[in-house]
Amino acid sequence: MRASVLLKWGIEELLRKYPELRLQPAKGDEMIIAGILEFSAQTRGLKLISDRYEISISVPPEYPKAIPVVRETAMRIPRAFHKLDSGHLCLGSPTRLRLTLAETSSLLSFVERCVIPYLYGYSIIESGGVLPFGELSHGVRGLRDDLASMIGLDDDLVLLGFVRLLAMKKRKANKLPCPCGTGMRVGRCHNRKLNTLREMLGRRWFSSLLHGSR
């Protein structure tokens, strides 16, 4: 990793805007930013919440193709809330998080678009409210629901067909009948949505959803 990478990822902006977060020595090839994330956040119709969390963000060398791993280090958020088996915060489905990173690889925007909303949600839960943006079921169920909503499907019965198309080359996929049941070929039906997703995340990502990563 060279200086240019740190600059490209917007680390400097992150450190400046959230000065209690600091780069930490790293033993491996990941980059670690840890400290206190202090924010005021609000979403429409809900009260402003000012809060601070002790967190650690580990940025893998494959970033932004791989998602940073975030931990809450003061044991404030219980295991029962959305956490992975490893204790990492489960900020969202991997596809959704990758999509956010595909739009902008800045770590500052990752923190503001994925980490702060998650913590904000937990603060609301702590004060007896409900999650403002909803939550996914755990496990495969949640992954499916999230993908279905990204493609714009009401139910996920046809989802598998779409994911297969996303794992194919565009040219090949466009010639096949659209799984949504209109009888049209994909090229004249759901092609825009699929092409955008495929371009942003790559065929291999969807292939790994089908077959596991190889």
């Binding site: 200086a3 400097e12 959305h82 900020l91 489905s93 702060i116 998650y118």
Partner: protein, 388 residues
């Protein structure tokens, strides 16, 4: 000229990192005493006319207090012996020299055992100041090697100070051979002093006028207190704090000193100097090897470990970015209400009440920036998930 308050503030921070001058004098005494021992009549290395030259931060005047009271000061010297490389093996020279150092330790009732390092011997002093002295035996390089270094564009004045050193890891360590590792700590020190001295001259003249020294040449480096030296002290401290738990991952002082010296453009105030140094540092790291060459011997790479341990380079860049971000915040911090917490975080220093009053004369209520956490308007967000 940068914001006067920031300059005063940084000056006061660095003053508190300084060590008492008596420590520098003590260090000089140690070098002198060792030199006398090596030259005494019974010494086994006296025939090689040992010449002791101080090295490292005590020579450059860039020592900073250790982070905690138990911290040791590192003292370095090079002892140049006059003999051809082929007269004995590296191992024999290291051993012969080591016997003298061991005898010195015994004669001075030093309790801690002498330690053999890859290239030098380490003596542990334990009086009221905890020092360890790394003493590096070396022989003056032969003319052909010096000519080759000059051929790489190094001025003779620096190149002629090149030495051959012993290294336990060298394949010819125990063989009679002219193939020894080349190094040039004395040339580096000379280069550092040349680059530092010009900005020290006004102060040196004042010291001479005040009759503290008889001539400008007599003023030791720790008295120069140039913006470069003080910048190095500040950056080393920042590094020490950041890597307190993992010192083995920290960028080494020689890399910081080397890059800072290249990057210094003669700025006269500490804030402009240190921010300029940090900004320009990356441009003196070469893309290929040697990554951070000794200007007095370009084959000697201070960052030679980076290729085998890439995390060391990564940690350098992390340190660099954090230092840059911290320095950039200072002017705002002085106007805000988080100064003392931030100084503790960056430099592990506790500001005294009078320092706070001096730099933050306005009462908190009228200060322009009272810290406010960034405000985020969330319009949409990923839904939390879990793999359980």
């Amino acid at each position: 000229m940068a914001n006067e308050l920031v300059v005063k503030f940084l000056d006061s921070i660095i003053d508190s990192l300084d060590i008492p001058e008596s420590y520098y004098r003590r260090a000089a005494d140690r070098h002198r005493s060792l030199g006398e021992w090596l030259c005494r009549r019974e010494s086994k290395v006296a025939v090689f006319q040992p010449h002791v030259t101080p090295q490292g931060s005590f020579r450059y005047g860039t020592v900073t207090r250790p982070l905690n009271a138990e911290g040791e000061y590192d003292l370095d010297n090079a002892v140049t012996l006059t003999l051809p490389k082929t007269q004995m093996t590296q191992k024999d020279l290291k051993t012969l020299f080591g016997e003298e150092i061991r005898a010195y330790a015994e004669a001075h009732q030093m309790l801690s055992p002498l330690e053999e390092m890859n290239r030098c011997w380490r003596l542990h002093y334990s009086d009221e100041i905890t020092f360890h002295l790394d003493t590096l035996p070396c022989v003056a390089e032969e003319e052909s090697v010096i000519a080759a270094i000059i051929g790489l564009g190094v001025p003779r004045e620096l190149a002629k100070r090149a030495v051959a050193i012993t290294d336990k890891r060298h394949p010819h360590y125990a063989l009679i051979s002219a193939n020894w590792l080349s190094s040039n700590p004395r040339g580096f020190a000379r280069w550092f002093e040349e680059r530092t001295r010009s900005s020290a001259l006004p102060r040196l003249r004042r010291l001479v006028e005040a009759r503290l020294y008889s001539s400008v040449e007599d003023v030791p480096a720790y008295e120069w207190k140039t913006p470069l030296q003080r910048s190095i002290q500040l950056l080393k401290r920042h590094r020490d704090v950041m890597f307190q738990e993992n010192p083995e991952l920290a960028p080494i002082s020689m890399i910081l000193t080397n890059l800072a010296t290249h990057s210094y453009n003669g700025e006269s105030d500490i804030f402009t100097a240190v921010t300029g140094i940090v900004d320009r540092m990356p441009s003196f790291i070469r893309a290929g090897r040697p990554r951070v060459p000794n200007p007095a011997d370009p084959a000697e790479d201070y960052a030679d470990k980076w290729s085998k341990e890439p995390q060391l380079e990564q940690n350098f860049w992390s340190w660099h970015m954090q230092a840059k971000a911290d320095l950039a915040r200072l002017p705002d911090l002085l106007r805000g209400d988080r100064l003392s917490a931030s100084v503790r975080q960056m430099f592990r220093l506790d500001l005294k009440q009078e320092q706070l009053l001096q730099f933050q004369s306005a009462p908190i209520s009228v200060r322009s920036i009272s810290y406010a956490a960034p405000a985020i308007a969330i319009t949409s967000a990923p839904k939390p998930w879990g793999n359980q």
